[in-house]
Symmetry: C2
Subunit: 174 residues, 2 copies
DNA sequence: GAAAACTAGTTTGATCTAAAACTATTTTGA
DNA sequence: TCAAAATAGTTTTAGATCAAACTAGTTTTC
């Protein structure tokens, strides 16, 4: 990502610094995407050294918190399509971080577990994630954090209501 | 997106409704991604009939608001890498929605403009976008909207500070 | 007790994305 | 001035994502 480095004068208005956002400036969706992208990139750079992405971290954590979870339940919890999980989980398995066990009563589904290596990786990633979220906490302000997360969750549950999804209803605030 | 349809009892804890989110429950970044995904999908379904994506809509609007903008400036304003814009803009040009004019003083860059067809498409999309954002407004509450957007923008500008990006500083609230 | 409907997971196809390498041009600075 | 550094945009590469089609196994229903 190259620094913009003082752009020179131009006859074309738009090449200058001040860009007009028009209706986008008032759209929650637009700012949501920009904030998410920025956050994603920041974490990705933090944990990219260890060959992880924020998405893989979320999978490891959800499996850690819910040993034996199935892929479909994991997909719902993570808000990603189950077909997206297939290659991600294969990768984690190939790296020896998770196990997939057949469930006795149902030969269709797998029970997912972390391996010891997976637990270790998760522990290391938690530290990075915590550091990143501390930064976000500073940006948002701890006194606003609870409400901010509540608002984000409300968006998730309201917009995916028609798809029957459950919003993250875990333990909310410390 | 299939409805989950009342899951039956299982011996595996995790297949049940209540999924534990652990540290993720308190991570702004996690909820940010989930909210953004949900919002993106909702808009995509709305405007998908017309073969548009939220990303294409943002490009059209930014070009509409900043006639003659260059691709690099557009990339910065939209928060996406310029290489991502190349195919998107080629598509818009092929569909006759934008023009790319060589800039007199600089043979490297293009000045982007909407065609009349592009303006018409943008107008139609604005209606969809407005409808979607009205829904988000209801979810967040108009009395909280300004602060919510301010928080999202703070995340963008704080996290991309090292990359030299400018946060969206357009006209803020109505 | 089958046939039909449903569920779990994978495969395939189409998009979208960032990053790095590359070409062409412009600016800088010694 | 002219070589080096910087900038605009494209190409290439690799990876992620969803949706739909598919396979295999399970439940429902008549």
């Amino acid at each position: 990502m190259p620094k913009p480095a003082k752009p020179r004068e131009r006859e074309v208005q738009a090449a200058q610094e001040p860009v007009r956002f028009g209706p986008l400036a008032n759209y929650i969706g637009f700012h949501l995407r920009r904030a998410q992208t920025a956050s994603f990139q920041a974490v990705a750079h933090r944990i990219g050294q260890a060959d992880f992405t924020p998405g893989l971290y979320a999978l490891l954590t959800l499996i850690e918190q819910n040993p034996g979870i199935t892929q479909t339940a994991l997909s719902r919890a993570d808000g990603r399509d189950k077909s997206s999980l297939t290659p991600a989980l294969s990768g984690l398995q190939k790296r020896g971080l998770i196990r997939r066990e057949r469930i006795a009563g149902d030969k269709r589904s797998y029970a997912l577990h972390l391996t010891p290596a997976g637990s270790a990786a998760a522990a290391a990633l938690h530290r990075h994630a915590q550091a990143h979220d501390d930064e976000l906490d500073r940006i948002i302000g701890l006194e606003h954090k609870a409400q901010f997360i509540r608002q984000l969750r409300r968006i998730v549950s309201a917009l995916s209501a028609d798809t029957g999804e459950d919003g993250p209803d875990g333990e909310a605030q410390p």
